[in-house]
Structures are given as structure tokens and as C-alpha cells.
């Protein structure tokens, strides 16, 4: 049973997080792989939209992205951001207020 901190732990109505990357860099590839692991760990309760700012520079300007990869919850004000390739899943989820649902590490 989840004890998620979020008001909407199943993510049914919650806007997805955004993952900003800049092209196919090694860091971006690691972040994309970790994105999949994150989604799996949340068993579908979490969505992460990928934004490649090389294709959509206006979005980066709008959001004020300086570093990549950046995982961002733009739905709250001020936005909550995590810079880096999302290495430690538990740390990442705790930062955004999710409890992981799988038992695997």
C-alpha cells in the first residue's frame, strides 16, 4: 500500500513531470533510461514527458532551463527541479514527493 505524499498518488489527474534534454548526449541517454525505471517503479502512477530542447528551444527559454538533463515539476509554483541524470531513483522520487511502489532497488 502506498503512503505517497502526493494528494493524488495514482497520478490520474496530475500533470506529468517534464524531462528536458539537449539531443542524444550520453547524459541524456542515461536520463532517458532512468526515466523508464522511474515510471516502472511507480507502476504507472507517474508520467514523464520528454522535451528535447534542440527541437523546442522556445520551451527551454520559457521554462528557463540552464542545465540538462533537468527533471522538472512545472505544475507547481515555483517549479521544483532536479538537475542531473537521475542516478538515484529513491532520492529522485522522494524529492518530487512520490513513494516507490516496487520493492526492487
Amino acid at each position: 500500500m502506498s503512503t505517497a505524499l502526493r494528494s493524488d498518488p495514482n497520478g490520474s489527474g496530475h500533470p506529468p513531470l517534464r524531462l528536458y534534454i539537449a539531443g542524444e548526449t550520453p547524459g541524456a541517454r542515461r536520463a532517458l533510461a532512468n526515466r523508464l525505471r522511474l515510471i516502472k517503479a511507480l507502476e504507472g502512477a507517474l508520467q514523464i514527458e520528454v522535451i528535447d530542447i534542440l527541437a523546442r528551444p522556445e520551451d527551454a527559454e520559457q521554462a528557463g532551463i540552464v542545465a540538462t538533463p533537468t527533471l522538472s515539476d512545472d505544475s507547481i509554483d515555483p517549479p521544483r527541479r532536479l538537475i542531473g541524470d537521475i542516478g538515484n531513483l529513491t532520492e529522485v522520487l522522494a524529492y518530487f514527493g512520490y513513494d516507490r511502489k516496487d520493492s526492487a532497488r
Binding site: 528536458y20 539537449a22 539531443g23 548526449t25 547524459g27 542515461r30 530542447i53 534542440l54 528551444p57 522556445e58 527551454a60 527559454e61 528557463g64 532551463i65 540552464v66 542545465a67 540538462t68 538533463p69 533537468t70 522538472s72 515555483p78 517549479p79 521544483r80 527541479r81 532536479l82 538537475i83 542531473g84 541524470d85 537521475i86 542516478g87 538515484n88 532520492e91 529522485v92 524529492y95
Partner: protein, 498 residues
């Protein structure tokens, strides 16, 4: 634009990009080299953002070169407001896409760093902005903030900044980056940014000298190019921005004319073998009440009588006093002003800084185009300035006067009533072409006034000490004072007075 453009080997004719700070452009042989990166270092409040914005503003308004402003510190809106007083309509330029901001100022977002990252986000935004604006110039203000933002990842920021600089170079942009300094005379910038990223290094200073702020700009390094060394004073002027005050040492090329103009006093003309030179500066030095303002009045009236325009800048007496004095010597300043041949400006030395005084004089001269200029007195100005600043002021002033082929006359007040040396004299005397000493001279029975032409460059002159009297038509030279005492030191026969 993907192929790496290698840096051209020391090209003797680098194309120059004017910054809009005229005297600065002179220091660097016409402007910043196009396509290169310049670091502008300075302490907080030294004028970095003003200089950077002026560089962009000049491109937009004078050269049709759009610009990009990457701000790490203030928001674009703050910069708009702060720079408006210099006459830069940033809002309008943004509307016309002549100026595009990349806003990397600190946001209020919660942010942590976990794992590896790069600054491709920033680079992408910068390139997007430069391409959409078709920018030729770009400012990054200040990159120190970028280092402070990612304080735990200094090596990474360095690497990324190099990438950004290389990308901007490939785009052919002329780059100006500002960097914070901790002290006016310490290391060039925090994080030693200049060492790895800059072709050129410029330092802005705002030093406290004798309780006065003194702003200067100095070119420290210009890769593959010459530059003028040393600090040059500048001032921040509303509706103009940064105005540097050129030093004459740059060019000692003034013509040395042979044309003479009258001193306004026929007897003094005779003593100087025909008057002062057209493009020369004469110093009149003497204690208070010896007749300095009188000589200046003769000098101005002589010019006006010859159909010239004359400008008087007074720092010691009010307009009313100067006009009244002149009238008592038979000179009507009022009529001369009404005829448009004379302009008298009086103000307190303390009213503004020395560079501002210089700028004011330059502007007055540009506006009124006088053939003669008198300043009464320099000693009053010296009060407000640190010694180095005063010397720079004099150098600038005298070279400016000569370059414009104006006949100049400056007075200096001795502190001692009977001669001696004033501090200003040491500076002034080497910079002026002619020196006239006015002295009280005590003889056995009475106190006389004496005049002596001490030096006159390029001309013979009467070396006698002449007594003179003053009446309703001005100064009248009398016979030489044969047994005059030491005119430099004091009273005859009293060597202890020195």
C-alpha cells in the same frame, strides 16, 4: 556552421567593433576585434553592466547590429529599468527583436543537483536567440554568477563555458563577458575566468582615492593586437552612458603653430615678442589679489576685440563678481555676451567630479566653438581631486585645448602671498607652454606687484621682472624692478622665508 573555424593567426588587420565608448575604442585601436571574446572584470558597482549594455546599444543604434543579452544576475525587466536613464530604450529594441534576452537570472524554483549534467540548455537557448535576432554582438553578464549557481561543480562550469565560447566564436559573434572581482587591485577575476576563455581582458575600477570615487577603465590584454596601457578615467553620464576621458599621452601630435594672438595687453604682447601662440596654454600663477583674474579678463577682451569668441570658466567667483571686476577695469562682459562673443560659466568645483568638469568644458567648447578659453582657477579644481586625477585632468585639458587650436589661459593660486610653490604648479608648469608669474614684491619702502614671463616655449621673451599698476583701464606694466628680491622665494634679503 559546424566546421570549427580555427582562430586566425595574429591578423594585423583585425576588424574592429566599436563599443560606443569613444575614448575606449581609441585605446584598443578602433574597437574590440570582431569575433573575439573580451572579459570585462570589475568589482560590484564598477559599471560592468553599463559598459556591456552600451556595447549592445551602440551596435543596435549606430551599426545596425542586433545583439543578445544573456543575464545571470538581474532580470531583463530590471535591466530595462536600470539602463533607461542612459537613454537606452531596451523595451523598444526588444519589441523590434533588435535585442533578445536570454534570462538565466536566478529563479525562485527549488532546485537540487543529482548526478552528471551539462549546460547544453543554456547553450541551446543562447544559439536560438542569436540566430533568431541575427545577432552580431552578445553579452554574458556576469559569468561569475554562473559559477556561483553551480558552486559544487566548478570544473564542469569551466568546461561548459569553454564550449559556449567556442560555439559563439563559430557563429562569428563578438563576445563581451563580465566577471566579478573582489578587490580593485587583486586577482583579475574570481574563478580566474579570464585565463581560459578570454582573448582580451578589460578592467573597470571604482576606487576610493582621497575620499573620492575614481572610475577608470584599463585594457590589460589584447590578443594579437596592440593597445594603450594604463588606467583611463571615465564617468557615467545620463542619456549617454559611459564616457571615458581620453588622455593626451595617446597622441602628442598637436600642431605647433607659429601664429600669434594678442594677450589683450599691448605691453605684455611686447614682452612675449608678439603675444601668445594660437594653440598654446598659458599659466598665470600668483597669490590672491596679484591680478590673475585681471590678466584673464584682458586675455578674453583682447580676443573679443579681434572678433574671436571667448569662453570663461570660473571656479572662484560668481558671474556678478566677475562682471563687476571687469567693469572696474574698463571691460564690458555684458555687451560681449549679448553680442555672442563671450560666454561666462561659473560653478563650484564641488558641484561635480573632475572628469565631469572636463566633459562639461569639452561640451561647452564643442557648442560655443571659442577661439579662446580661460579657466580661473585650476587651484580651485585641485581641491576636489586626488593628485593622480588632477594630473590626468590637466593632461586631457591641455591636449584638448591645443588640438582644437584654442588659445588657453589658466590661473593658479599660490598659497603664500609672497611667492613659493603650489602643488598644482608642479603639474601645470610642465604641461603649459608659457608661464607668467605675478608676485607681491616688498621693497624697502613699499609693496609692489611684479610680473615676470618665466617661460615661453618656442619664443624669445623679456626676462625682466616688471612692476605694474592697475587702474580703470586695467593693467599697466612699469619699469623693471632692478633690485627685486627672489621672485620664487619671497622677500629680498630674507632667505629664511623659503
Amino acid at each position: 556552421m559546424t566546421a570549427a573555424t580555427t582562430e586566425p593567426p595574429a591578423d594585423p588587420i583585425l576588424e574592429r567593433v566599436k563599443t560606443g565608448v569613444e575614448a575606449f575604442d581609441d585605446l584598443v585601436m578602433g574597437g574590440l576585434p570582431r569575433g573575439r571574446t573580451t572579459i570585462v572584470g570589475g568589482t560590484p558597482g564598477s559599471g560592468k553592466t553599463v559598459f556591456a549594455t552600451q556595447f549592445l546599444a551602440h551596435g543596435i543604434t549606430e551599426r545596425d547590429e542586433p545583439g543578445v543579452f544573456v543575464t545571470f544576475e538581474e532580470s531583463p525587466e530590471e535591466i530595462e529599468v536600470n539602463m533607461a536613464s542612459f537613454g537606452w530604450d531596451i523595451r523598444r529594441w526588444r519589441g523590434m527583436s533588435k535585442l533578445v534576452f536570454v534570462d538565466a537570472s536566478p529563479s525562485d524554483s527549488d532546485e537540487i543537483v543529482v548526478g552528471d549534467f551539462d549546460l547544453a540548455g543554456l547553450l541551446t537557448r543562447i544559439l536560438h536567440a542569436t540566430r533568431s535576432a541575427k545577432a552580431k554582438r552578445i553579452v554574458l553578464d556576469s559569468i561569475t554568477q554562473l559559477f556561483d549557481h553551480f558552486i559544487a561543480d566548478q570544473a564542469l562550469v569551466r568546461r561548459e563555458l569553454l564550449r559556449i565560447a567556442a560555439a559563439l566564436k563559430r557563429e562569428g559573434l563578438t563576445v563581451l563577458m563580465t566577471a566579478e572581482r573582489n578587490s580593485e587591485y587583486g586577482e583579475i577575476s574570481r574563478h580566474r575566468i579570464e585565463e581560459f576563455v578570454a582573448d582580451n581582458v578589460v578592467i573597470l575600477r571604482n576606487a576610493l582615492d582621497r575620499e573620492r570615487r575614481r572610475r577608470t577603465i584599463e585594457v590589460l590584454k589584447m590578443r594579437g593586437s596592440r593597445h594603450v596601457e594604463g588606467e583611463v578615467p571615465f564617468t557615467l553620464v545620463s542619456e549617454q552612458g559611459m564616457v571615458a576621458v581620453p588622455l593626451s599621452s595617446l597622441r602628442l601630435e598637436q600642431q605647433s603653430g607659429t601664429k600669434r594672438v594678442t594677450s589683450g595687453n599691448p605691453e605684455l604682447d611686447a614682452m612675449t615678442s608678439g603675444g601668445f601662440f594660437r594653440d598654446s596654454v598659458t599659466l598665470v600663477s600668483g597669490a590672491t589679489g596679484t591680478g590673475k583674474t585681471l590678466l584673464a579678463t584682458h586675455f578674453l577682451a583682447g580676443g573679443v576685440a579681434a572678433g574671436e569668441r571667448a569662453l570663461l570658466v570660473g571656479y572662484e567667483e560668481s558671474r556678478g563678481q566677475l562682471f563687476r571686476n571687469a567693469r572696474s577695469w574698463g571691460v564690458d562682459f555684458g555687451t560681449m555676451e549679448r553680442d555672442g562673443l563671450l560666454k561666462v560659466i561659473c560653478l563650484y568645483p564641488e558641484a561635480q567630479s573632475l572628469p565631469d568638469h572636463l566633459l562639461m568644458i569639452r561640451e561647452l567648447v564643442a557648442e560655443f566653438e571659442p577661439q579662446r578659453l580661460a579657466i580661473d582657477s585650476l587651484s580651485a579644481l585641485e581641491r576636489i581631486a586626488p593628485e593622480t586625477g588632477f594630473r590626468e585632468f590637466l593632461i586631457s585639458l591641455t591636449s584638448f585645448i591645443k588640438k582644437r587650436e584654442i588659445a588657453g589661459l589658466c590661473s593658479a593660486t599660490d598659497k603664500s602671498l609672497i611667492g613659493g610653490h603650489s602643488a598644482s604648479e608642479q603639474h601645470i608648469s610642465t604641461l603649459t607652454d608659457s608661464i607668467i608669474l605675478l608676485r607681491y614684491i616688498q621693497q624697502v619702502d613699499a609693496l609692489h606687484r611684479g610680473l615676470m614671463v618665466l617661460k615661453m616655449r618656442g619664443s624669445d621673451h623679456d626676462k625682466q621682472i616688471r612692476s605694474f599698476t592697475i587702474d580703470g583701464s586695467g593693467m599697466h606694466l612699469g619699469p623693471p624692478l632692478r633690485d627685486a628680491p627672489d621672485i620664487f622665494g619671497g622677500v629680498a634679503g630674507d632667505s629664511s622665508a623659503r
